[in-house]
């Protein structure tokens, strides 16, 4: 019963977010279309690259299309549903967490779902289109793709919550959180086979971009239960750490005593 009410609450937040974003039609369409066009132009780099070099460490243009599809849709989904995952540090530093603490709802869930990013909807749609264009759209492959997108979205959300929760200890870590997101996106969008040894460990721990791009694509290229298992385990561990960090950090939070009226 409690879980059902919680889901209903989150659903209501998402609905409000979507309606308020669509209130301004022209900016909504411009941001959505602009982000898709932005991604298409960005991908042109890899078209030019593979036109010249054909393959880099076993990766071809089609693999890069799958990588862009998974990362764009994963990031888009995370920012559409939990758009505040990248803004927690800013919210805490400004003392704006008070408004969530006063309400009888799970704080983290309420914070995360209170904002949906419009451009990210463009990312999400772009990823779906790119997956179709990459070819091999069978039911099984599409199902695996959706699974990869959901896991990638969970990893993006969890790692951003974790990075942003540092604000409870460092007080000002907004910039660090921004750079962490940039690093996640940058490292996610390169062929996974480029990174070996210490670099690979780094990309599955400190900046877990391997879980948002390279590993999901490996699962799509050659599906096996072990890769899926590693992906699920990695995402679950990150989510557990994120939850723990936020809960422990929240105990250290001191109110900004700001009086804010939400309408």
């Amino acid at each position: 019963m409690e879980r059902k009410r919680g889901l209903g609450f989150v659903g209501a937040l998402w609905r409000v977010n979507l309606l308020s974003a669509m209130e301004y039609r022209v900016p909504f369409i411009m941001q959505l279309g602009g982000m898709m066009l932005n991604n298409v132009i960005y991908f042109a780099f890899w078209v030019l690259f593979f036109d010249r070099f054909e393959e880099v460490q076993g990766w071809t243009l089609r693999d890069m299309m799958l990588l862009f599809a998974v990362v764009a849709s994963g990031l888009g989904l995370a920012m559409m549903l939990f758009g505040n995952c990248r803004a927690i540090a800013r919210i805490v530093a400004a003392g704006d967490l008070d408004r969530y603490l006063a309400l009888p709802r799970p704080v983290l869930l309420h914070v995360l779902a209170s904002r949906s990013s419009v451009p990210s909807m463009g990312d999400f749609v772009f990823g779906l289109i790119w997956f179709v264009l990459a070819g091999d759209v069978t039911a099984a492959h599409a199902l695996r793709f959706l699974l990869a997108v959901v896991l990638s979205a969970c990893t993006f959300t969890a790692s951003l919550v974790l990075a942003n929760s540092l604000v409870f200890w460092l007080r000002r870590s907004e910039l660090l959180a921004d750079h962490f997101l940039n690093a996640m996106i940058t490292f996610s969008l390169y062929p996974g086979t480029l990174f070996n040894g210490a670099a690979r460990v780094f990309l599955f721990t400190v900046v877990p971009a391997g879980l948002t791009g390279a590993l999901p694509v490996e699962m799509l290229r050659d599906f096996d239960a072990a890769t899926l298992g590693w992906l699920c385990a990695g995402t679950a561990v990150l989510a557990a750490f994120a939850l723990l960090a936020f809960q422990i950090g929240l105990r250290r939070y001191e109110s900004g005593s700001a009086i804010v009226v939400r309408i």
Binding site: M30, I41, F49, T186
Partner: protein
């Protein structure tokens, strides 16, 4: 006497505006650390990618560039992009919030006011980025291929930031007509990246595309300084600077035209 004093006063004013961002950036240690981290990260990723490419091709030379040329070129290209402030956003925000009224009340030229602040930000960030990125590239592939390329590259860099200033200001001023400029910013940014050769030197492009891209302003901004740095031939220097100056005249004129029209549209209410 009157004219000399007035010129000196103006120089002092714009000089103060140039120095202000330097002080602001120095006070924000976090910004310096982040700039170092970002530059290090990008150059590291590029090194991994291009080492793999050169190894796979089994050659030391691709389109006339070695691995060392490529990485030093990419450093200069990143330097152009990572050292500039978000001017379009700043202008657009000032239009949306109405704070542009305060900017216009100052006894300063609108364009020169923003140019002075822009130059201050660029000067500081470029030094930090060059030191951080240069150290990474030096460690990975050794010193720059041609030290004599440094002076021509600095000249080309200054012109390229001038061009980028015009583009950013034009996009920012678009906020007078449209509610949101983010789509323009993303598209301009990505077109610059691709046609400017940010991730891939234009020499590696298909010949027809490279020929078209080379004459566009995006190449004058991103490609030109890096290419001059690794290959500072006299002919290249002259053609690069001539093209950059030509585009600067065109874009500078466009900025002046648009800013005059935009500021005429401005209506300020209240006091």
């Amino acid at each position: 006497m009157q004219r000399t004093l007035s010129t000196r006063m103006l120089l002092n004013r714009y000089g103060a505006l140039f120095r202000m961002p330097l002080v602001e950036n120095l006070a924000e240690v976090g910004n310096v650390v982040s700039a170092v981290l970002v530059m290090t990260m990008f150059m590291w990723v590029f090194a991994m990618l291009w080492q793999a490419v050169f190894a796979a091709q089994g050659t030391d030379l691709i389109a006339g560039l070695t691995l060392k040329h490529t990485l030093w070129y990419l450093l200069m290209a990143e330097l152009v992009v990572l050292s500039k402030p978000l001017l379009a956003e700043e202008i657009s925000d000032s239009i949306k919030t109405g704070s542009i009224a305060y900017d216009l009340m100052r006894p300063l030229d609108f364009g020169l006011f923003h140019l002075s602040r822009y130059a201050g930000h660029v000067a500081f960030r470029a030094c930090v980025n060059l030191l951080a990125g240069g150290a990474v590239v030096w460690l990975l592939v050794g010193p720059p291929p041609a030290w004599q390329g440094l002076f021509p590259a600095v000249l080309a860099l200054m012109l390229s930031w001038g061009l980028e200033f015009c583009f950013e200001a034009l996009i920012g001023l678009a906020a007078f007509w449209t509610e949101d400029i983010s789509a323009f910013r993303w598209i301009h940014q990505k077109i610059s990246f691709i046609l400017g050769g940010l991730f891939l030197p234009l020499d590696f492009y298909p010949p027809w595309l490279a020929a078209v891209a080379r004459v566009l302003p995006f190449a004058s901004i991103i490609y030109a300084p890096g290419r001059l740095f690794v290959d500072p031939a006299a002919g290249r220097l002259l053609s690069t600077l001539a093209l950059q100056l030509g585009w600067l005249v065109v874009l500078g004129f466009a900025f002046r035209l648009l800013s005059d029209r935009a500021l005429r549209r401005l209506t300020i209410n209240g006091g």
